[in-house]
C-alpha cells in the first residue's frame, strides 16, 4: 500500500511501498494513484527517495498516471537514487517528469506554480 501525504494544501505527496517499482507492484501502484486522482487530487509529488530500482513497468505506471492527470494538474518526482535517475534519463522520462532533489523542494515548486 502506498502512502499519501495530503498535508500540503492541494498537493499530494506519494510514497511508494518498498524499494522496488516493478511489474510485481506497478499495477497496484498505478490503480491506487489513479483512484486518488479521480477523487480530485491532481497535483502530485512522487517521492522516490526510498526506491532503489524501477523497471519499465514502474515507468509505465508513472506515465499512466501522467496521462490520467492530463491538463488538470501536474506530477513531479523527487529523491531519485543514481540508479533510478539513470533509468529516467535512459528512457527519456526526465523530459516529462520534472525532478527535484527532495520532497520539500518539490512541494515548494508546485506551490509556486499555482
Amino acid at each position: 500500500m502506498i502512502k499519501f501525504d495530503t498535508s500540503n494544501d492541494d498537493i499530494s505527496v506519494i510514497v511508494p511501498d518498498g524499494e522496488r517499482m516493478t511489474a510485481t507492484n506497478s499495477t497496484s501502484f498505478k490503480e491506487q494513484i489513479i483512484a486518488h486522482v479521480d477523487e480530485g487530487n491532481s497535483r502530485l509529488v512522487v517521492d522516490l527517495s526510498g526506491v532503489s530500482f524501477v523497471d519499465s513497468a514502474g515507468l509505465g505506471a508513472l506515465v499512466g498516471v501522467l496521462k490520467r492527470i492530463g491538463n488538470r494538474g501536474d506530477i513531479v518526482v523527487c529523491g531519485l537514487a543514481d540508479s533510478v535517475r539513470q533509468m529516467f534519463e535512459l528512457t527519456r522520462m526526465n523530459r516529462i517528469f520534472t525532478e527535484y532533489p527532495n520532497r520539500a523542494a518539490a512541494v515548494a515548486a508546485l506551490k509556486d506554480s499555482l
Binding site: 511489474a23 510485481t24 540508479s83 535512459l90 528512457t91
Partner: protein, 152 residues
Amino acid sequence: MKHAFKLPPQLGDVDEAVQALRALVEPVQGNQSAVAFEVAVSEALTNIVVHGYEGRANGSSISITLSVTASALELTIIDQAKPAPAHLYERAPLLDEIDFMQESGRGLALIRHHTDKVSYSPSSAGNKLVLTFPAPQTLKPNENRKEAGEDP
C-alpha cells in the same frame, strides 16, 4: 564461476531472483554494470512470466544459469512457456524510437540497450534466451574494485 537456479513462473518471485543474480554479478562487474545487468534480467524474466506463462503459476520452473568468466558474462534462461516470435529480440526497438507517452513496450529496448548480444531459440523442448553482457575485463583498470566499494 557458474550458478544455476530454478525460478517458479510467478511474477512475485521475479524480483527476488533478479536481486540474487545481481548480488552474484556486482562483486565482479562493479555497481554500474550490475545496474545494467539487473535492468536487462528483470525485463527478460518479467516478459517470460507475463507473456509466456500468462499467469499459469503452476507451469514448469524457469531454468537460469549465470556464467561469469574473464571473457564473458552470460545469463541463459530456459522456459517451457508459450514461445515468443523467433525474431522478437532482433527486432527490438531502440529506446529513442519509443514514444514518451507509451505505458509499455520499453522492456525489449532496455534489454537490447544493456546487452552485447541477445540470442533466442524458441522450441517446444524449451525456449532458450541467452543474454551476453560486457565481460569483466572490458571495464577500465580498477573500475571493478572502485565500484564494488573496495579500497584501492
